[in-house]
């Protein structure tokens, strides 16, 4: 099960880099992009971890997480768009 271990470590590295980008991103969209990527990597990580501990039930969690991640990103984007429209109205 070496391969699964390596895959899990690589995913953790990618997630870490995404977090750095999320913390340092110059624009708010960079942050959302990084969080989205973090979310998909979490889905994969849950799946790999389920195989690593030989409990494939974890896959249900990862399906669920994929859906929640998508809805979360869309909701955050709607929220940002609203705020920006509001700001423009304020400026006029």
């Amino acid at each position: 099960m070496m391969s699964l271990g390596i895959a899990a470590v690589a995913l953790l590295v990618v997630m870490f880099v995404a977090l750095i980008r999320a913390l340092s991103g110059p624009k708010i969209y960079d942050r959302v992009l990084a969080i989205n990527m973090f979310g998909t990597k979490t889905v994969l990580f849950i799946a790999v971890y389920g195989f690593l501990t030989e409990r494939p039930d974890f896959l249900d969690l990862s399906i669920f997480y994929a859906l929640i991640n998508f809805i979360g990103v869309i909701a955050v984007l709607k929220f940002i768009e609203r705020i920006e429209e509001y700001d423009e109205v304020e400026e006029r």
Partner: protein, 108 residues
């Protein structure tokens, strides 16, 4: 034996692609090009991981669930990156373009 080997190949390819995407996310100069780096990790990297796990799982309910995860990721990730780019564009974030011939991006 053969499934294990295939798992190795796919998982390693997925890991390399994931780290490549992360590296691109750190080094690319502007937001719109970072989207492309992230989309590598969302498409082929995810597919590699899932197929690696499929070879480990064999034919069972688990395989179908893995394929459902992949389908969900492949439908939702372009949708969310489209929504992200569109939100940035509507908000007036200008795209850095090559030679400034086409001044795209930004509504003002």
């Amino acid at each position: 034996m053969v499934p294990d080997l295939l798992t190795w190949i796919f998982l390693l390819a997925g890991s390399v692609l994931g780290i490549t995407g992360a590296w691109g996310l750190m080094t690319f100069p502007d937001f719109y090009s970072r989207v492309h780096a992230a989309s590598i990790t969302d498409t082929l990297c995810a597919a590699c991981f899932i197929f690696g796990l499929v070879f480990q799982a064999g034919w069972s309910l688990v395989t179908i669930k893995l394929l459902i995860v992949l389908t969900l990721l492949w439908i939702t990730s372009p949708t969310s990156s489209h929504a992200l780019v569109r939100a940035a564009y509507r908000a007036g974030l200008r795209a850095m373009t090559h030679g400034n011939k086409h001044s795209g991006g930004g509504r003002s």
